[in-house]
């Protein structure tokens, strides 16, 4: 999709806190033909869930194009490289290399945080495996893995000026695409992407803007205050508070659609990544109202 020059749409599928494959397959049906690819989170917010590789494999079997999210929080370099080979063998063709939320936030705060590699080193390891057929240390692979490699960027974390440097570094390490943190502060986002354009970075990787529909003013406040690296302007919260309770979800969708429409006009943005957290059923409506349906078909 991205290489064809179209405006890409991706969504997110959170695996269940359980072993039932039907939960994943049900989400797959909600997203089928609505998006080009589906990210599968890797124990996000450090809460134990079904493994991302397994859920990606289920999606792949159901005919969707999964994006395997992998965090360096839980696996050392042996496990990461091994899982990369396994995922490629299962036909998974996209990987998003992440640090991972610190385990203190999840339901296993006593866990050992691994962080053997950092996310940038991990991107580089996957690129070397793919392009040179070598693992860390130089041993050769009988067959290299085949991946479109992604990384995350947060335009809203501090210090602001450093954000673009870090983005450039991830792309230099080998990221083919970038998915950003949820965007609510479009002015700040446009300043960030402007800085990236000035450095010529937006030509070197496909950048997808992240969006998350809000369900309530409470969710907005929670994200603003409790989720690290989130920037939700007060106008957004006021807008959510300004509608009756039964209209709040609709208002959240409105904001999300407007954000996507504005992002479509931002030079350097090649698509959107819709993270509807445990609200996958709304993705189709958002994509449709943003004027992005039907999705083009590729072989």
């Amino acid at each position: 999709m991205l290489e064809g020059g179209g405006f890409a749409v991706t969504a997110e599928c959170g695996p269940p806190k359980g072993a039932n494959p039907d939960v994943v397959l049900k989400k797959a049906e909600m997203l089928r033909n609505k998006v080009d690819a589906v990210n599968v989170t890797d124990n996000q917010t450090a809460i134990v869930r079904m493994s991302s590789i397994a859920a990606c494999s289920l999606l792949k079997t159901a005919g969707l194009d999964p994006v395997l999210q992998m965090v360096v929080r839980d696996r050392n370099r042996i496990a990461l490289q091994s899982d990369i080979l396994g995922a490629s063998a299962l036909g998974i063709r996209n990987v998003l290399c992440l640090s991972g939320d610190h385990h203190i936030f999840g339901n296993q705060p006593q866990a050992m945080g691994v962080f053997d590699l950092d996310s940038i080193q991990f991107v580089q390891v996957v690129r070397t495996m793919r392009d040179e057929g070598k693992i860390l240390g130089g041993d050769g692979l009988s067959q290299p893995p085949d991946f479109f490699i992604g990384a995350a960027a947060n335009p809203f974390a501090d210090p602001f000026d450093f954000r673009v440097i870090r983005l450039a570094k991830k792309i230099r390490a080998g990221a083919d695409f970038i998915q950003t943190q949820c965007i609510y502060n479009l002015d700040r986002f446009e300043r960030w992407i402007g800085m990236a354009r000035d450095r010529g970075i937006t030509d070197k990787a496909y950048i997808l803007g992240g969006v998350t529909p809000l369900k309530s003013p409470g969710m907005a406040k929670y994200m603003k205050n409790k989720v690290s690296g989130m920037d939700i302007p007060d106008e957004i919260i006021k807008r959510m508070e300004g509608v009756p309770k039964d209209k709040q979800r609709e208002e959240g969708i409105n904001i999300c659609v407007e954000t996507i429409q504005r992002l479509r006009g931002v030079p350097g943005i090649k698509g959107v990544h819709i993270m509807a957290i445990e609200w996958e059923e709304v993705v189709g409506e958002i994509v449709e109202r943003a004027g992005l349906l039907p999705r083009p078909v590729f072989d």
Binding site: H102, Q124, V125, D158, I165, R166, K169, R172, S228
Partner: protein, 58 residues
């Protein structure tokens, strides 16, 4: 966020301090380098450690 650590707001953000300090030194470009993975072989489960004190050798 705002210069505080996301794990514990009582602590300053180490990365924020690093970036501020390197900016002050005019050396922020050092962070543009991609550093190789760390060698952990001498840490924790690396087994018994051995130090050769060359000054003690005959």
């Amino acid at each position: 966020m705002d210069g505080r650590c996301e794990i514990n707001p009582d602590v300053e953000c180490a990365w924020h301090m690093i970036v501020d300090r390197l900016t002050k030194f005019g050396a922020l470009d050092r962070l543009e380098n991609i550093y190789p993975p760390k060698d952990w072989s001498r840490k924790q489960g690396g087994g018994p450690r051995k130090i050769v004190r060359e000054d003690q050798q005959k």
